[in-house]
Symmetry: D2
Subunit: 248 residues, 4 copies
């Protein structure tokens, strides 16, 4: 792992973010952003302990100053000319289900702040580094992936606080794919259509849930890695990922 | 025009908003919201002069207090128990086309503030009145229509400040259709896929533009009225509207 | 009703087809095509008895010769230079739900023959007449509408015999809208997302079905008529229509 | 390569089909179906010469008897209890661009016969073998992939002979994914949104075409292989693949 290029991941929790971090850490130094350091401390230790390189930075992805500070710290650590091979936006506003007339502006703003404002801030900062990755002729085209959900393409009742942000993030991702593809950056969008496997999710699904009822975070990480390895002549913008037993 | 039920229109300018106001004013008192009173003053006079009833209220649709004040004024004017037969959200953040890395957060926030926050605030306040319209057995099912654009379903490069807001508004509209349809409120979404006919648009398109190259605002108003007249057993959520000569 | 222009409707049964026929018969002579004359005989009498003009022609819409013969008979009746103001393709292959491995080619071919081949044959013959309607400066832009279904945009398990045909018909409609819109013919597609109200459907839904659980055919006819009245500057290609209480 | 499970590929020409065959031949015996043996003869030699196993069968994919015979030959070669690890439907009706009124039914039927009827026949025969692959606990979930195109989701003018078939094939693929996913078969659909790299395509694009203007068939094969390796908890139904410089 001698790459000077790094991978930055926003929204690192126990599920997808951690699996993606482990996968990309096999090839790149990884920078992990999360508001609560508890979400990355163990993982940073684990990756560094296994011969990889990981740096965790406590970041409020919806706050311009916090995001700027995070990327300043990245440059301090890796050099002002650091480039990125990959950037993964995996942050998500909390899921709120509530009758629309009972929603307060604050309920719904939180989703927007993370998905839309956070998506904008992270993408903008990352793209500067990804474009440097293009110049430095990274092995694989530098890649920006936004994690979406069922709610990115289907807007159910009482969930508008969540799906408005997810629709908007999908628009951002599509727009960026068209602008930066010709510049050599691969922008992708993943529709994660189902629950992510975790202790909590399994407890919630109950024992009736078969072994394939929840999405393996490692399989998501593998799919993201596959997107990353696609050559310039064959970029995928969007994939959906769901359990084989999911109704859709 | 003896209806106690009113129609409220947010985003009244010279184009769609005015045409919709004229159309619905044939059947209902209309309340016109726009930030700049110049956008509705003439129209209010025109409608009142022709025997209709119109009230203009200067409103910043993205500001919770301003929107609350507007609806308080509506109640002061029409009674605390006023109900609505229709509410049209026609406001739109300014169109910004700029390389993504040159966008400032302020550029892009303006679009979100109008399309998403404004859409939320207006829809929430309106739905309370529309549900009262259901109780009062309005002739046609009370109707909430959100005006979308090409950018509601297609996210072109360099236009993310606009299309993120429009995608999010479409999610909101879909979610509300599913929640409030069973309660008797008809929620619709119109994809206006082309330029609206106006002096400015015609000047911009040039003399080469044929007579059908720009969308007639009156035709949009007719389509909105048709949606309004649909019975509960046959609600349309989404229509697209474009010039016959448009490429798509 | 002095129009020389006619309306042709394929797929006339007790539901949508009959309602559309009655609606358009208020303005145009109507030609009704169905394989089984029992499907139009009463209706022809009814329309002619009320001062309209209706002609029923027994036609297998999936058979090139039968369709040619039908249009030859139309010319014999209305003159070689007859033009059309509207053409509605409302035919549909039978709905088959079966495990895929139990489907015989014949099962599935029937759906294709009606939806795809029939859609092609009817559209081609109709467009010649609709283009003549353009030349004769019909009051409203000559209009070709294809009736779709939920299965036009959602392909459920075990229903591929039906949804393959409906997806294909939607492609045909979209392609024709783009080719013939600039020539003055309005091509539209309606996604009928729910059951059509009829004695049989009501019996099937059971007494629990509320008054709005099934789509009023008259409301569909009104929507089709609205599409027909749209001016060249504001064509709708696609509308969805569903009961207010429908889950989607 | 000791697998008893095979891979069957329909529509083997110089582009995608051959690349997919080479990729899957690294792990499985491959059966190559094409009408014209010239399309697979060299490839069969190449694969067998490199230590793989390939069998070419001249097959008219739109003809029930020809398809049955092909699968009978597969059983004769590999045993009556042969199972499949993968099946790829890569056949495509010829691309026809013509004004709609000039299309003959034969023009358009050819596209349907290959895309829709061929897709049905191949999928049905393959699924029986893929389900046997499930029983035999194949290393990766048995996988059926249908190759789509831009025309699977966008129906341009004058191309309805092609896009009707592609829309229908996409419906079939979606329906099969929902029916057979819970049974352990992974069904996927790829939207190939651009020209496939080949001598002919490069000549047609001209020297102005950059190195990334045409899709690498090997990259498509890699993407198909990635889909094949996805575990049951994380199936992708649809991916799009396009050149980084493509406008969309």
């Amino acid at each position: 792992m001698a790459s000077k290029l790094i991978t930055i991941i926003a929204g690192v929790g126990p599920g997808t973010g951690a699996a993606v971090a482990r996968k990309f850490a096999e090839s790149y130094p990884v920078v992990l952003l999360a508001r609560n350091p508890d979400n990355f401390n163990e993982l940073v230790k684990e990756i560094n302990g296994k011969g990889g390189k990981a740096l965790g930075i406590s970041t409020d992805i919806s706050d311009p100053t916090s995001v700027s500070n995070a990327f300043a710290q990245v440059k301090k650590e890796f050099g002002d000319d650091v480039g990125a091979a990959a950037a993964i936006f995996n942050a998500s506003g909390g899921f709120v289900r509530k009758p629309f007339l009972e929603l307060a502006l604050e309920d719904i703003s939180k989703g927007w702040d993370v998905s839309i404002r956070g998506g904008f801030l992270f993408s903008q900062q990352s793209l500067a580094l990804l474009l440097r990755g293009v110049k430095e002729e990274s092995k694989y085209p530098p890649t920006l992936i936004h994690t979406g959900a069922t709610a990115s393409v289907k807007a159910n009742a009482q969930v508008s606080a969540f799906n408005t942000g997810k629709y908007a993030l999908r628009a951002l991702s599509s727009s960026l794919a068209k602008e930066f593809g010709p510049q050599g950056v691969h922008v992708g969008h993943a529709i994660i259509d189902g629950g992510i496997d975790s202790e909590r999710a399994r407890a919630w699904k109950g024992k009736d849930a078969g072994p394939d009822a929840l999405i393996s975070p490692e399989a998501i990480a593998d799919a993201y890695w596959h997107l990353h390895t696609q050559p310039r002549s064959a970029f995928t913008w969007e994939i959906d990922i769901r359990p084989s037993v999911e109704k859709w």
